[in-house]
Amino acid sequence: MNLTLKVWRQKNTADQGGFKEYKISGISEDMSFLEMLDVLNEDLSTKGEDPVHFDHDCREGICGMCSLYIDGKPHGPQQTTTCQLHMRSFSDGDVITIEPWRAKAFPVLKDLVVNRSAFDRIIQAGGYVSVNTGGVPDANEIPIPKSIADLAMDAAQCIGCGACVAACKNASAMLFTSAKISQLALLPQGQVERKIRAEKMVAQMDAEGFGACTNTGACEAECPKGISITNIARMNREYFSAVVSSDSV
């Protein structure tokens, strides 16, 4: 396969950045998208040009480190992570546009690498059960209906890649935030801090500068783990019932 890549190059956060075009040939359809970029980078390095920087780590679709807005869609044309996207999804002669995630809360660090620590801060605001190590009850002390455990697991599968933010026309982080709020709101272990958690996590999400939700459903459609927007509805419920009934004024 021969391809033309239009890649966003930006030296650092302060740099303005712009697209650069690269021709690349001899791409096998068995390559993953990132392996295709590896080939490009080997080419560039050999020529003495700075390779294209992009985030990646596990390359098996679970760490959530890879990103890339490929041809108008986060993680490219398939509903999977970029590392699991393979070149058989493209055809010879294609022109592929590669951009970083775009959001105020995700500043570009270099080329296609963005800073997603806003997600960490949202979790730090309350995405946990406050139990210290040791002194907890036996794991089977509280039975949890299988259907509830399964729902919690569906929400907990979020890999924190940020595709939801990237896909959303408002750069909203509601799917990410709601997945964690949902998981813990569903489980008995999360009940104690249920209200304060919803209030604090939503406040942090706003403070980071993410947009609001227009319920377009783009996040769900692009989420590589298929996290459902029913979680956003649950977060809304949790938040509204928390603000009217909690003790925090």
Partner: protein, 226 residues
Amino acid sequence: MSWVSKTLSSTLGQKLLMALTGLFLILFLVVHLAGNLQLLIPDGGEAFNKYAATMAGNPFIKVVSIGNFAFILLHVVYAILLSRHNKKSRPVQYAKVKGSTNSTWSSRNMGILGTILLIFILVHLRGFYYEVKFGTLPTAVYDGVEFKDVFAIVSASYSNIIYVAFYVLSMGFLAFHLSHGFASAFQTLGLNHVKYSPLIRKVGLIFSILIPALFALIPLVMFFQN
């Protein structure tokens, strides 16, 4: 900041106001349509003019109508606030976006649709509400009682093809606005359930087609009757 203002200034709180005012306006559409359909009763406007008079004289309706204006205003103000916030959330836009592969056109363009509808509402209010309230109207007499002949100015307006076209087109935009807004309001309120959400979506779809279609039918029928 008190907890109320804090909540209402959060993105979720603002969304809540959008949803609640939106749902109220949806209800208003039903009432408004029920009244307007009386324009089609072939009695030379008697039923409609009587209805208009009842509405104008009822203090409860007066309160509701003020509320209605307030809700439209709130809906617009919060739409502007949220849109501005959302715009700021992505300062650098993508060069290439394939939104159509993950969401509907209307869901991505509620702001544009809303703006068109706002223009429609302003024209609509100038044409009818203002005329009825502050203009000089012909009168009609039924059973010895004098009524403002609202029907006459409606009928006159709907004999103008440009006016009719504008109305019908606007109802098309309303249909798109509702096709997303109806179900979206429930989602924002947190009312998403595996059993009821499909129903809400279906009702929303039917509503978004039926109500604007009936609204559009009125000027069309009156135009051709003339």
